[in-house]
């Protein structure tokens, strides 16, 4: 277990290095003069020259990458042009609300999805299974941004039960937890329903496989009770198989959060990114993507470690 954790942690560094390289590389796709693209057409020649020097545009790209990486390690992601403040500060300030949103959606989606998937597998080919399958089909086919709009229409516009937007900050003293919760319901629901659909779908398949496995039949042959078979043996088997799926699902939730934060005006990193793209604030985009990708890598690491804890046969790739 400890050896496995160590090896997985070691694998983290090349992946993170690769992630920075990709982020750096993508930004060099920008057509034309990067300094001009970052500062916009109204920048003064002095500012342009200064930025060109900062970015070391006269050096070959490997040298630029090393310089950029050096700054990155020191926490310097550059200054946001649109916000006129350090990128890292802006990004970290918005990370919390996004994690809150995605985390809540992930927990609810996982519990809901696993329960539905297990239930469908236990009632394989009966009406419960069919209903879950239809729900799953809708869940994986519905655009989450459209679902968000429908929820706003229903609960905010027509019924007036819940707010559709209005959260400007999550952590300030003036904001009560109850208020945050009220604002969280609709965006979390839009994300969680979709995630639950995906998890239920794969969970159902995994549960059908596990329940049909020979060791489950052998548990029955030993006279072990059915609820113990389901809740101990089958559930652990399904959970072990679902860990990577849940890890991956976090990535889709982070992506979905970009839409949902935009729709519900949630003060998260996703909305910051969309705004930054609209403002052509490339350094801010770079920083936001980098931070979210790092968070995602860590989540996947946790998922892998959990999976290994559940199933010791798994070795690092």
């Amino acid at each position: 277990m400890i050896g496995y954790t160590g090896r997985r942690l070691l694998l983290l560094f090349p992946v993170l290095l690769g992630v920075s390289l990709v982020v750096f590389g993508v930004m060099s796709l920008v057509p034309g003069d990067p300094a001009l693209a970052i500062l916009g057409p109204y920048a003064t020649p002095e500012r342009l020259a200064e930025l060109r020097a900062d970015l070391a545009l006269d050096r070959p790209w490997p040298a630029r990458f090393v310089i950029w990486l050096g700054n990155l390690v020191q926490g310097d992601l550059g200054r946001s042009v649109s916000l006129e403040r350090p990128v890292l500060d802006a990004v970290l300030e918005r990370l919390g609300p996004t994690l809150l949103l995605a985390g809540s959606a992930l927990s609810i989606g996982t519990v809901l999805g696993l329960a539905a998937g297990m239930l469908a597998a236990l009632r394989h080919n009966r009406s419960t299974d069919r209903m879950v399958s239809i729900g799953v089909l809708l869940g994986i086919s519905i655009p989450s941004f459209w679902l968000g709009l429908l929820l706003i229409l229903l609960f905010a516009v027509w019924l007036g039960w819940l707010p559709a937007s209005g959260m400007t900050t999550v952590w300030a003293d003036a904001v009560s937890p109850a208020d945050v919760l009220r604002h969280l319901v609709l965006p979390v629901a839009s994300l969680a329903l979709v995630a639950a659909g995906v998890i239920a779908r794969i969970g159902r398949g995994a549960a059908i496989d596990v329940l049909a496995a020979e060791h489950i039949v052998m548990c029955r042959a030993r006279g072990i009770t059915e609820h113990r078979i389901v809740l101990v043996h089958a559930l652990k088997g399904v959970a072990a198989r679902m860990m990577p799926v849940i890890g991956l699902q976090t990535g889709f939730l982070i992506g979905g959060a970009v839409y949902i934060e935009t729709i519900f005006q949630w003060p998260g990193l996703g909305r910051l990114l969309v705004d930054a793209i609209a403002a052509r604030d490339l350094l801010l985009v770079q920083g936001g993507v980098l931070v979210l990708a790092t968070a995602y890598v860590l989540v996947n690491l946790a998922a892998d470690l959990l999976q290994h804890a559940l199933d010791r046969r798994i070795r690092p790739a």
Binding site: V15, G18, V19, V23, V26, L29, H124, N125, R126, D129, L137, L138, S141, I142, P143, F145, W146, L149, V157, V194, A195, G197, V198, I202, A212, E214, H215, V217, M218, R220, A221, R222, G223, I224, E226, H233, K236, G237, A240, M243, P244, V245, L248, Q249, G251, I254, G255, V258, T262, I263, L273, I277, L282, L292, A293, Y296, L310, D311, R312, R313
Partner: protein, 693 residues
């Protein structure tokens, strides 16, 4: 579809599939002419079109696809023509079936044209991602080593990005626009294809048919083209269908954020995005494009599921509903191995039945097929005495394992179970689930063939042993009993062993653990199902000795299921021979080996190689056993029998005492067996048994 991530990652695989159980269990000759090939493309297509999900999907998809394809020829208004004077017309206005939007553009026309560009973008992105992904996956999987490591680390890095973020970053750099959005989505999807294809290639690369192609002198390129690519088709096709829906959703998403289609160009996503501003006042402008996306993607996903079912029938998303039990009006067995007393109760209490521990009467197992139920086991009747060791011998597909599982009512759910089983004076078939559970593992224990798959891979051996003990003795401390059991089956080092996971043990150790668990409650009857088949001969020898000792010590009964007569001979004094789902002979071991009465038994002995007799002619039986349900009439062995008579193909013989057969007939007109002097309890199912030939 968002689940493809999970699907694609699966190849790195949390569960390493255990090697196919073992060679001996290979399926016996099914009738090949009737089976649809999942690999023949015509067969797959037929199966696909019969699938109700596929039909529903096709209907939904064509609802969107047909108008979108025909858009240039439909009498539609120009989707980009703005008419501020005619803005926000309600549906059913003249000339505007669905009304107009905030700029007075015809909504129906915009929906159809928008769907057209959404589909086009989704298709191109899928094709692009598939192309690059296949190339990367093929190179990595086929070349292996350094190329594999390098390419897959690259793919890992791409997968380290939350899916949409990579696309966002690319669009941010390239600038907004539908083409850039398409490119970005395609790149973000490459990892899924690359991983799936690599996984498939790795699997194919180690197949024997690839080695066979090398043996035939073919070069690498020819092998990839001829042997690998055709086998990738299902993987890629499946992934493309599943990704297509997902890509349509995500390009719509980018357009929704204003990063895809730019005005005046419109796709469904950008319409939704523009309509968002009017959500409170004119909801239909935002709702309708979403409906079109939903209908289209549901259709694609339904088709994808159906395709998966057609390609991989083992993993049906949703199968046919279980039918009501067949022949509800005909529960009485049509025919019974017990001869004329077929309807006696298995639970009666006369002295004879008290001597018998297990009484099986007219046991039948059938499975639903496309053309009704097929009998895999039919009319099996036998008794098993206390302390008796009986072998159930048969080739693969003979129904011996199903018979063993049926005794414990452990058959798969769709199996139909007929007949009666009596155990120690009680009827097992009449027991409820709770009563059955109380017997399993306590009075009747089961030792399976492959102990690696029979132990839960996720729990330590000690925990599973304790669990088996606690199942019927919930209050006791299971450890002392468990330690004793481990020692009883000849395993050393109890504390270390308890902490091991099943995969950390050798095959012999695992089988000993499985036997220890079976012994946990000192059962009266042990059912060992090919318990030594997966083991090497020297280990097999040890396990057989162990089983023998355990049965002799406790006066325990044993039902030893095996394909190998020699193994049966090692352990049992009585043998039941099964063929095509029926018991064809029941005889004491010596009698069976020296004077088999059934031509099949005779053939089985004659065609087994024997050590020390290399010149024994192997009288091979031509042909192969019939598939379940293939033969409805006559003796099941008639098509292969060297002594077959015309009547054998019409009448099925009953299992009757040797010497009393000949005239005995199945079904309606039973002929009472005449008493003759034969060795005790030699029964045969043959109209013309081999009597001292």
């Amino acid at each position: 579809m968002r689940w493809i991530g999970g699907f694609a990652r699966h190849e790195r695989g949390p569960v390493k599939r255990v090697a196919e159980s073992n060679g001996k269990r290979e399926s016996a000759g099914s009738d090949p002419s009737v089976s649809d090939s999942p690999f023949s493309d015509a067969g797959a297509l037929r199966a696909l079109l019969r699938h109700p999900g596929a039909r529903a999907g096709l209907v939904l998809l064509s609802l969107v696809l047909l108008p979108a394809l025909a858009a240039p020829w439909l009498p539609l208004a120009d989707p980009t023509l703005t008419e501020p004077a005619r803005r926000m017309l309600p549906p059913l206005s003249t000339g505007h079936l669905l009304g107009t939007d905030q700029l007075g553009r015809d909504l129906l026309s915009r929906l159809i044209w928008g769907a057209r560009s959404s589909i086009a973008v989704g298709l191109s992105a899928t094709a692009l991602a598939a192309l690059i992904g296949i190339l990367v996956g093929l190179l990595a999987g086929w070349l292996g080593r350094a190329a594999d490591a390098l390419l897959m680390r690259g793919i890992d890095v791409l997968m380290a990005f939350p899916y949409l973020l990579l696309a966002l970053a690319i669009v941010a750099a390239l600038g907004p626009g539908l083409a850039n959005a398409m490119l970005a989505i395609a790149v973000a999807n490459v990892p899924f294809f690359a991983r799936a294809v690599r996984g498939a290639v790795l699997d194919i690369r180690h197949r024997d048919y690839i080695a066979a192609a090398r043996l035939c002198g073919h070069g690498e390129l020819a092998i990839v083209r001829h042997e690998v690519l055709p086998n990738l088709a299902p993987t890629v096709l499946l992934l493309m269908t599943t990704t297509l829906g997902w890509m349509i959703l995500e390009t719509a998403g980018l357009s929704f954020l204003g990063l895809g289609a730019q005005p005046p160009q419109a796709d469904l996503g950008s319409m939704l995005g523009e309509g968002r501003e009017l959500l409170t006042t004119y909801p239909r402008v935002a709702v309708l494009p979403g409906v079109v996306i939903l209908v289209m993607v549901v259709g694609i996903n339904l088709l994808g599921d159906a395709l998966r079912d057609a390609i991989d029938p083992g993993h049906r998303s949703i199968g046919p509903a279980p039918r009501a039990s067949r022949r509800t009006d005909d529960v009485e067995p049509r025919q019974d191995d017990g001869g004329s007393t077929g309807v006696e109760s298995v639970a009666d209490t006369d002295t004879d039945s008290r001597r018998q521990l297990l009484r099986v009467r007219a046991l039948g197992v059938a499975f639903p097929t496309a053309s009704g139920y097929a009998d895999a086991v039919e009319g099996v009747s036998f008794d098993l005495g206390r302390g008796e060791r009986v072998a159930l011998v048969g080739e693969s597909g003979s129904g011996k394992t199903l018979t063993a599982l049926a005794l414990l009512r452990l058959l798969p759910e769709q199996a139909d179970l007929q007949g009666r089983v009596g155990f120690d004076g009680r009827s097992l078939t009449a027991l409820d689930a709770r009563g059955m559970r109380a017997l399993r593992g306590r009075r009747i224990a089961y030792v399976p063939q492959e102990p690696l798959t029979a132990l839960d891979p996720l729990f330590r051996v000690g925990a599973q042993l304790d669990e088996a003990i606690l199942a019927h003795a919930p209050s006791a401390d299971p450890r002392p009993r468990g330690d004793k059991l481990i020692e009883a089956v000849g395993l050393a080092g109890v504390p270390v062993l308890r902490r091991r996971f099943p995969h950390e043990l050798s095959g012999g150790q695992r089988q000993r653990v499985a036997i220890a668990m079976a012994l946990a409650h000192d059962p009266d009857l042990l059912i060992a199902d090919e318990a030594t088949t997966a083991l090497d001969v020297t280990v097999q020898q040890e396990i057989l000795t162990l089983l023998q000792r355990l049965c002799e010590d406790g006066g325990r009964s044993l039902l030893f299921v095996t394909h190998d007569l020699a193994l049966a001979a090692r352990l049992c004094r009585r043998v039941l021979v099964m063929y095509a789902g029926r018991i064809v002979e029941d005889a004491p071991l010596q009698r069976l080996l020296i004077r088999p009465a059934h031509p099949y038994t005779h053939a089985l002995i004659a065609c087994s190689p024997e050590l020390g007799r290399p010149d024994k002619p192997l009288a091979a039986v031509a042909g192969q056993p019939p598939a379940p349900g293939a033969l409805r009439q006559g003796c099941r062995f008639a098509p292969r029998c060297p002594r077959v008579q015309p009547i054998c193909r019409e009448r099925e013989p009953a299992l009757a005492a040797v010497g009393a057969a000949g005239a005995v007939d199945a079904g309606t007109d039973h002929v009472s067996p005449r008493p003759v002097c034969v060795p005790a309890r030699h029964r045969v199912r043959c109209l013309f048994p081999m009597e001292d030939a």
